[in-house]
Symmetry: C2
Subunit: 130 residues, 2 copies
């Protein structure tokens, strides 16, 4: 069931916040950041707008291995790293050539249709590694 989006100050603020940070925060972190500027905002509204933005492909919703969900203001395909100590989620630049044949290779012995993939790297971030 398709609906049309109208302008919403909250939604704009959420997207702005995600675009302005290199972190990939959880819904709760977004909520508290928003609340600093607009104390009356509610958690339900933050969830509704995050999900709407993700459905429209304007942000990314990332499901981490520990079950938590993080959001990324950059909707273009790229890769992520999760620190197993502090749980931070970071961007990770990777030479696209390395992966150009990955879907084809995976399709070789597979009896279905492979449309894409996502890769999560894990380890220790710069702050936790020592």
């Amino acid at each position: 069931m398709e609906t049309v989006s109208r302008y919403s100050r909250n939604r704009e603020a959420i997207q702005e916040y995600l675009l302005g940070t290199k972190e990939h925060p959880t819904a709760d972190v977004v909520y508290h950041a928003l609340k600093a500027k607009n104390p009356s905002v509610s958690l339900g509204t933050v969830y509704r707008n995050l999900n709407q933005l993700a459905e429209q492909g304007r942000i990314l919703k990332l499901s981490m291995d520990d079950g938590s969900e993080h959001f990324d203001g950059n909707p273009l395909p790229h890769h992520h790293f999760t620190c197993r100590m502090c749980g931070r989620v970071l961007d990770l630049d990777l030479d696209p050539d390395i992966l150009k044949d990955l879907n084809d290779a995976a399709s070789a012995d597979f009896n279905g249709v492979i449309e894409g993939h996502s890769i999560y790297f894990y380890g220790l971030c710069s702050l936790c590694k020592k």
Copy 2:
């Protein structure tokens, strides 16, 4: 806090069930399968044993993009495919050579320690591609 595992009929049955299926079931599916043989088993016990087996590295716990958790009786590193229609999780064989340099490539411009990665493929399974 380390504790020692004792023998448990339930835990053995859970691992046996996971080893005997090519599916990658959720905790609830495992629970119902176990209940068919031992009606008194409880859901809490299934969760406790699945988590214990995963912590000991005897099974894998897989976090899917839709937020659901699936379990895999094969703890050796391999790759998975999720059908975006029916949600099934399947194994996917992939030539190891394709990925042998992946962690190194990812480490190039990264200011932390990359210990590994997981790859999830998605698309349509053989039953849903129609």
